[in-house]
Symmetry: C2
Subunit: 316 residues, 2 copies
Amino acid sequence: MKEIVAGVDIGGTNTVFGLVDRAGKVIAESRFKTTDYPKINSFVTALVAGINKLLSGKKGYTFKGIGIGAPNANYHKGTIELAPNLAWKGIVPLADLIRKKINIPVVLTNDANAAAMGEMVFGGAKKMKDFIVLTLGTGLGSGIVINGQMVYGHTGFAGELGHTIIVPGGRDCGCGRQGCLETYASASGLVRTVLYLLSEMKEESILRNIPPAELTARKVAEAASKKDPVALEAFDFTAEKLAFGIFNAIGFSSPEAVFLFGGLANAGEILFEPVRKYVEMNVQPIFRGTVKILPSGIPESNAAVLGSAALIWNDL
Amino acid sequence: MKEIVAGVDIGGTNTVFGLVDRAGKVIAESRFKTTDYPKINSFVTALVAGINKLLSGKKGYTFKGIGIGAPNANYHKGTIELAPNLAWKGIVPLADLIRKKINIPVVLTNDANAAAMGEMVFGGAKKMKDFIVLTLGTGLGSGIVINGQMVYGHTGFAGELGHTIIVPGGRDCGCGRQGCLETYASASGLVRTVLYLLSEMKEESILRNIPPAELTARKVAEAASKKDPVALEAFDFTAEKLAFGIFNAIGFSSPEAVFLFGGLANAGEILFEPVRKYVEMNVQPIFRGTVKILPSGIPESNAAVLGSAALIWNDL
């Protein structure tokens, strides 16, 4: 019997889950709307039923466990705690609730940590013991691996590089503070930077014709690919801020590589090239030339499920 | 036969070494001037002779290994690399050189990592798996423990929190960059802050009567204990900057405690109280109330030898 696990990614809108073998092959995948289940018990019932349905179509496998990526997930406790984008309030003992329905190992962590596990088990960090994954979406998530182990810390919530303050007194952040890295180095940070630059620069720009509420990182990337001067400057500014977060993190854990993942990273060399430049320019001299800045080695379409599956494979 | 190790602390001026048992008792201790041995081979000869002399006076022990704390020490390679305050240039294979004289396990790391090992094995972090030690001397050194393991990173030089940039474009640092944490949060940073405040403030201060070249952190602490307004403000300013470095580090590894150690930490509550206040005020909400800011649990007189001894005990 071949062994198989389930990888689950719980997002504010969708929950995606799939069956994954040890080689990282997604055997089957399905999804439903997280928002259809405002009560946690009905969510758990739906999730277990969904996994069982996938399993019933695949004979010849031994089912070994469930790995889950979810916002505000606590690895130590198997809980989701005070997640602002989910309907379930308070501290949700998700791992316990699932184990009551299906007696099998269940582990969970946040989505950035799951992405890092995916990178280590199936992606570009297979042979690395020390690396960092930054997920550049609406916010900036991070998963940190040191000595081959995910860093969860005393609370289970370690790895919040998005909330490193890099500009004292800087931009308002959703965490209630100012100047956090993610207010600059994320898809939404890039959009904020465009608005700032439109106020600072006098150059013509196609971005002046888009209502701010409709601006997206993708539109900025498209403008940059057409050499729009504001869009180009916005990527340079964003790269400099992201590099700031990266070189301070390098001084902490001296990783072999930093992987950039998610929406903003899809912009490619227009982001990577200046990030590499600013990291090398500004990193402490002892670390110059020691850190690779890389795109993720995981296909983005499967990343969430593969990362969560990697989490449980790594624990088994 | 009771087991025993040697702990060695190599400083720019003095080399201190002692024999330490598993309980952390210093059985014998000696020292010589590092500067008396500008050639590494003669230094190694003197060190091994010194340890053998201590051992010859203590019968009934089995000698198990040597732990060394030294500037720019690389744990992975057993080398001292490009240390600006030592006479030995280039990359010095110290562990290998010692093992050629005395066939025994030899490990080395930098002094801040050794301090953290001392805290874990013999001090206030005995039951902790995640903590950080900051040594506040001329510079700011740091030793980081995650999952019960020292963080060395891919290069072996991880844990350089003193060179986290906290003020972009700020004070000139010895590393060639600007605004590093140690230019504010260290004994010399405190003195720089006094000079800055003497320019900013109009209040009377006994510190106005001391030539800047003769100002020390101790003199500032003495002035603060007499309620000197500039000295008090200098400690508050220093604490705020140190807190900045600490709360960003908390977001990285979510430690159970941060230990403050060395010259500046001896100022006691005049430093600790505002550091705790500024950390709680500014740390990401999810980590509020989760981190203790503590003085070291190791007596400072023995700290260097105990830390180095802890390093080898932990490896054995």
